[in-house]
């Protein structure tokens, strides 16, 4: 019996909602897990804090820690001026985190293992930075591409590199998350395949299958770390990019 490690990324259409032009808009497993993520976050942040206790219980602490974690990350990257983006960054962080972690549950689907989702989020950040940067700073936003203290004759090259690196931001921003999720899930599935394959050889196979099984346990712990870490990396890069829009001078 072979296991296809790619099958877990399939988008399964549950029912069609409508068509836009020639494109079909369907409710899919991906949509389902996005809704589950939103619902889970709402339960965490609103359901768990319904008592508004002065001394928080465990569940309320979880909501408070989430709040403070994102708030501290944003404040340390952008200062007090960036706090108007707090709901935005919090939404991005929690959405990515819950999509990543929910994807680790058996039989579930990982929303962030699709490049279109991570690219859309990265482009949202990219255009937010550009629009806010010009709206807030006007032409001074372009100082972002002109580092101070660079000799005149190499300035054009430096500016070219700065512009290029700015334009490549959404690519690295989105591919990093997408590739991490994709690779992690493929690895897990491949080792899972080893377990069933080796166990198929009979009694000796059962002992042989123990090794990849142990590997899966370890890798799952690692993937849990990666799920959190990538959400954090995505959020902190968002904060750093937003800081460029708020304080464009180098």
């Amino acid at each position: 019996m072979t296991v296809d490690p790619i099958h877990q990324f399939n988008i399964d259409k549950w029912f069609t909602i409508g068509t836009v032009g020639s494109r079909e808009i369907a409710f899919t497993n991906s949509a389902m897990f996005m809704l589950i993520a939103v619902l889970s976050i709402a339960v965490l942040m609103i359901g768990f804090t319904h008592r508004q206790a002065l001394v928080p219980g465990r569940l309320q602490s979880l909501a408070e820690i989430s709040y403070e974690f994102v708030a501290d990350t944003l404040r340390s990257a952008t200062g007090e001026a960036g706090m108007k983006f707090f709901p935005f960054v919090f939404t991005i962080f929690m959405f990515v985190l819950f999509a990543n972690v929910l994807g680790l549950l058996p039989y579930s689907f990982t929303v962030t293992s699709h490049i279109i989702i991570t690219a859309a989020l990265a482009l949202l950040v990219f255009f937010t930075v550009i629009v806010y940067g010009f709206w807030k700073n006007g032409v001074r936003f372009l100082k972002l591409f002109v580092p101070s203290g660079v000799p005149g004759y190499i300035l054009p090259f430096v500016v070219a590199i700065e512009v290029l690196s700015f334009l490549s931001r959404p690519i690295s921003h989105s591919v990093r998350l997408f590739a991490n999720m994709l690779a992690g899930h493929i690895t897990l599935k491949v080792f899972g395949g080893f377990v069933t394959m080796i166990a198929g050889f009979g009694i000796a196979g059962w002992f042989g299958a123990a090794l990849p099984l142990v590997m899966i346990v370890i890798l799952t712990a690692l993937e849990l770390l990666v799920a959190f870490l990538q959400a954090y990396v995505f959020a902190i890069l968002t904060c750093i990019y937003l800081n460029d829009a708020i304080h464009p001078g180098h």
Partner: protein, 179 residues
């Protein structure tokens, strides 16, 4: 309609056109649902979740500050009470000392006055007694003179057999008394 939750142990007949993340026909659905869920989540987060948790933090901070302020007020009150108590104690102490010294001086003065009065009285008595003694002495002296004169007259009469003249005896006695 595909089965919702059966993509783990299923053999590879499932996927249609290559690698699922690059199947473009799924992009539109994913984007539509991403927009719907992201906007929904943003609204929930911005309208309900963050204000509530932020409110919890603010309430906690306020409560802690209020409690601290109350504790500070109580401590100040206690300090003030202690200071008042100490001041009252010191006042009582100094008043006690004042009363004691006042009483002392009064008693001393009284004693002195009484002593002076007694002394004066005694002095008076002494003077009186001295006067009485002087009077007694004088009268005694007078008696002595007359007795001496009589005795001298009697002695002279016995010796010579004739009574001497009164003035001569008196002069002789006076002479003897002076000597």
């Amino acid at each position: 309609m595909a089965e919702p939750a059966a993509h783990t142990e299923v053999p590879s007949e499932g996927h249609k056109a290559g690698f699922p993340p690059f199947q473009r026909e799924t992009f539109a659905s994913q984007l539509v649902w991403l927009v719907i869920t992201f906007v929904l989540l943003y609204a929930v987060v911005a309208k309900f979740a963050l204000p509530r948790v932020g409110g919890i933090f603010a309430a906690r901070r306020e409560r802690v500050e209020a409690d601290l302020a109350r504790a500070r007020g109580l401590r100040d009150e206690a300090d003030a009470a202690l200071a008042a108590y100490e001041k009252a104690l010191a006042d009582a102490h100094s008043r006690g000392q004042a009363i004691a010294s006042e009483t002392h001086t009064k008693l001393t003065a009284e004693g002195e006055a009484r002593r002076k009065a007694l002394e004066a009285e005694l002095n008076g008595k002494l003077a009186e007694a001295e006067k009485a003694i002087a009077g007694t002495k004088q009268s005694a002296m007078a008696n002595v003179r007359s007795i001496a004169a009589e005795a001298a007259a009697a002695i002279v009469e016995r010796l010579i057999g004739a009574a001497p003249a009164e003035p001569a005896v008196a002069a002789a006695v006076d002479d003897a008394l002076k000597g």
